[in-house]
Every structure is written in C-alpha cells, then in structure tokens.
Amino acid sequence: MSERKYTEDHEWVDLDGDIGTVGITDYAQEQLGDVVFVELPDVGKTLSKGDEAAVIESVKAAAEIYAPVDGEITEVNAALNGDPSLVNADAGGKGWFVKLRIADASALDGLMDEAGYTAFVDGLS
C-alpha cells in the first residue's frame, strides 16, 4: 500500500492497487464532535473529484465528505450504519467511509503527505 494522502478538506486516502480507501482525519472528527449518523453512497456510483461522497451528521451539524479524486464506489463501510461513533473512535482506521476504484492514481500526487497535512492543520489555528 502506498503512503496515506490527505486533502485540504480533511479527508485521507490510502491507495492499494487501484482501490482507494477514504476516511476523515482525526482532526476533522474532533472538530465535528460526536457522530450520530452517516449517509453512505450506493456502490457503483461514479464520482468526480470534489463530489459529495457521504454525509456525516454530528450532534451539532451535518458535514459532507468529498471525493478526493475521480473514481467509482466499490464498497461502503456498512459498520457505520450500526455504529456511527466509529468515526470518532477510529477515524483513521475502522471509521473509513468508502472505497473507490481510481482510474488515474497519479491524481493522488497533488494531495498532501502526512507531514504536509500536519503543517496545514497547524496553520489553521
């Protein structure tokens, strides 16, 4: 698996072959607070970079998860339907949202690596 990449919208993506797993960062889940509901897309849906991939509802508000690159949904994390708090407990692992088949892996080159994302978040406060 290649190195984890990050977007400025606080998504992360892990690439394994041509399949990218997408989640939100620990910083993002902390900002959201307690997650109470996640609306996941249909498998087979084709997304362009920046399209809404999922909706996440915390106690306070709704937030959208955007597709970090173009791709087709191959799997969603059904465990979030039963236990949306997985997003809070393990945002970088069990709290993943969707898997995407990514046609052009080079699209990930424009995203940040972990050091870049950490610096980006530090610059926000």
């Binding site: 939100i24 307690d34 509901f37 609306e39 306070k60 937030a63 959208e64």
Partner: protein, 380 residues
C-alpha cells in the same frame, strides 16, 4: 469535509469563567456575542448523559440579569407580559413572555419576586443573552415613571442540573434543600452571597445560582471538586432542552409567533384570558377563543438521520404545512427528535407528516412533548 472556521474572538465578550473553560479544554465558539464553551473534551453526548444521571455545571453568565425597582414593579411589569406577576408569592418565580402589540414574542424570561426582607419593591429578571440589550431597553422605556430597571451585568449565573444536583448543593448550602421547583432564596455559600433558584433548562431537578462575577471562578472550581459534578457546554444544553420540549428563543419562538401558536397558553394567566391588559391581547385572546392557524409540535423523524432547523414539513400530497424550528439527536432516546410548527389540522400527536431531507422524503410523526419526562422537585 468542510469545517467552519471560528470567528475572531477579538470582538466577543467573555464571562468570568472564560479562563476556566479554556483550562478545562473547552472548544469555544461565538454565541450571542460571547465566547462560550460548546463542549469540553468529554463531548456533547457524554455531557448530556452526565447531566441526566449525575450533575452538570453550566456557565450561563451570558444571560441577562436585572432588578426592576419601583413602588409596585410586579404590577408595572404585568403590563408587558401575559403572566400573573402580581400574584407571585415572595420567593416564587415564573416563566413568562415579553410580547409586542401584534402578540409576537419579544423574548421569554423568568421573573422572580425575592422573599428576603429589604427586597420589597423589587423583582428579578433573567432574559436571553442575545435579546438582553433590546429587552432591557424595551422594559425601561415602557415602564418609565413607574419602575426602574437596573442591569446586573456584574453578576455571573451558573446552573447545576441533574439528579445529583440537590445532594451536591446541600453539602455546601443545606438551605438549598428547602427550595422546591420554581422557588428561590438568597443564601451564603462558601462565603459567597448567592441567589439560588430551583429551576433550569434541562428538564432535570437543579439550580441556577446568581453570584458576583468576581467570585464565580472560585465557586465553579469548588463545585467541580464534588465527584458528581462535570462541566457541560452549550451543545448539551441545547440537546437537553430539546428533549425537555423547551423553546429556544430565536428558533422555536420569535416576534412572528404568538404564545397560542407556540403552545405556551399555559404561560398566560387564567384571569387574563378574560381581562387581557397585555400587549397583543386582542390577537392572542381571539386565538385562544377560536384557535390559531398553526401550532408548535414535537416531531419524531423515522430512521436515524437528524432533521434540522429549516426543514420543510409536508402533508402526504407534498403540500408545505410547516417548518422544523429545532432538531437534532436525542442521546437518551438514541434517535432524532425535533420540534416545529404545523398547520393546526396536522397538530394532533400520532399524525403522520413528511419532511424532505437531501432530496429524499422521510416520514415524521407528530409527538407530544416533552420527549423525556421532566424530573422537577416539587417537594415530598
């Protein structure tokens, strides 16, 4: 994911507990012109549950406190509100509504007639933070010549709420145990002159404690040393009041809603159903007699997705019949709950309605409120 950035704190006011909130790890947000804690590290659901099972400590110092003085301030104030204020016994308090001439609600507030000797000719008011400047200006202007409003901006206000609140406060102030729901008294606690009322905004038994601002941080630290007490932010305050079916001013009630539409007829004194004598009485008494076109109701959306303020409520044919005014997740019921206004024919509990959420149609059921039974202490 888009994250709203916090507004600059530069222009915000702070309460006397601001430094303590930050020390406790609170996330601070702008609210009603103040920098306030929306949650602490425990999180909104944990803080909510703690308040329902133990005792939560809330900083509500942003709210407006004032004393109205005059020969008969209760009689004067009664001209502005539909409640029975002259009939308040010493030490008793009441929820009431500042009304405009159209019967719209300018604010909701608590009025207390203090019972201590030397407080004759005074009533004590607590109004919403966002409305306080306008409220106090309105009251001063309307009552000029008969009563004088004195703002108590130097005082803090803490709420201690939950089933263990009484046991905690009795340890520090045994006299607090003599109060029942909607009664208040002055008492010295830990050397601080406090005015303690048995009331709140959570549906739980509990207290609100008015005290000098410069004593508030030490007092809050003292309460937080009690094992049952944890700090609770505005996020859980909102979810608690929604479960309790209580209105949030500016959302569930405002100048466009009347007390009849808002299902707050109980806040209109019985005698005044006939006598009137309050702003907007012609509109409101007509609505009491003949009904209003819409009513505030509880709403239970199907499924798990929260339905938020502003969502359009429709009948089965898709015709708009109302709007959601507050909505969110109930940590106790572990499901979405909401309140809003619907056309009166749809207001009966059990009626099925619909709401559109992100392009899908969800069923909702009109529900009686409160969603969670209140646990007010009315004496043994």
């Amino acid at each position: 994911m888009a994250i709203a950035s916090g507004a600059s704190a530069a222009s915000l006011k702070s309460t006397p507990l601001n430094a303590l909130h930050k020390e406790l790890g609170a996330r601070m947000v702008p609210f009603a012109g103040y920098e306030m804690p929306v949650q602490y590290p425990a999180g909104i659901i944990a803080e909510h549950s703690h308040t329902r099972t133990a005792a939560g400590l809330f900083d509500v110092s942003h709210m407006g406190q004032a004393v109205l003085r005059g020969d008969d301030p209760a009689a004067a104030f009664e001209r502005l509100v539909p409640g029975d204020i002259t009939g308040l016994a010493p030490g008793a308090m009441r929820y009431t509504l500042l009304l405009n001439e159209a019967g719209g609600i300018i604010d909701d507030l608590i009025v207390t007639r203090p019972g201590e000797s030397g407080t004759e000719g005074q009533i004590y008011l607590v109004v919403n933070a966002a409305s306080k400047d306008a409220d106090f200006a309105h009251i001063s202007k309307q009552l000029a010549g008969s009563a004088t409003l004195e703002r108590a901006d130097d005082r803090a206000l803490l709420a201690l709420q939950g089933p263990q609140a009484a046991a905690v406060l009795a340890r520090l102030a045994p006299a607090s145990g003599d109060l029942v729901f909607m009664r208040a008294a002055a008492m010295t606690i830990d050397g601080v002159d406090c005015f303690v009322s048995r009331a709140g905004y959570t549906g739980e038994d509990g207290f609100e404690i008015s005290l000098p601002g410069d004593a508030a941080e030490g007092f809050a630290r003292r309460l937080l040393t009690e094992p049952e007490v944890a700090p609770v932010g505005l996020g859980a305050r909102d979810s608690l009041r929604l479960e309790a079916g209580l209105c949030l001013y500016g959302h569930d009630i405002d100048t466009t809603t009347t007390p009849v539409e808002a299902a707050l007829i109980w806040a209109i004194a019985k005698a005044r159903h006939e006598a009137g004598g309050f702003p907007g009485a012609d509109v409101i008494l007509e609505q009491i007699a003949n009904g209003a076109a819409r009513r505030r109701v509880g709403l239970l959306p199907e499924g798990r997705a929260p339905v938020r303020e502003g969502a359009v409520i429709c009948d089965h044919d898709g015709n708009e019949i109302g709007r959601v005014t507050s909505g969110g997740h109930s940590p106790i019921l572990e499901r979405p709950i909401a309140m809003g206004y619907v056309a009166t024919p749809f207001a009966e509990p059990g009626t099925q309605v619909q709401v559109s959420l992100r392009g899908r149609t969800l069923a909702m059921t009109i529900a009686a409120m409160p969603f969670v039974e209140p646990k007010y202490y009315r004496g043994n």
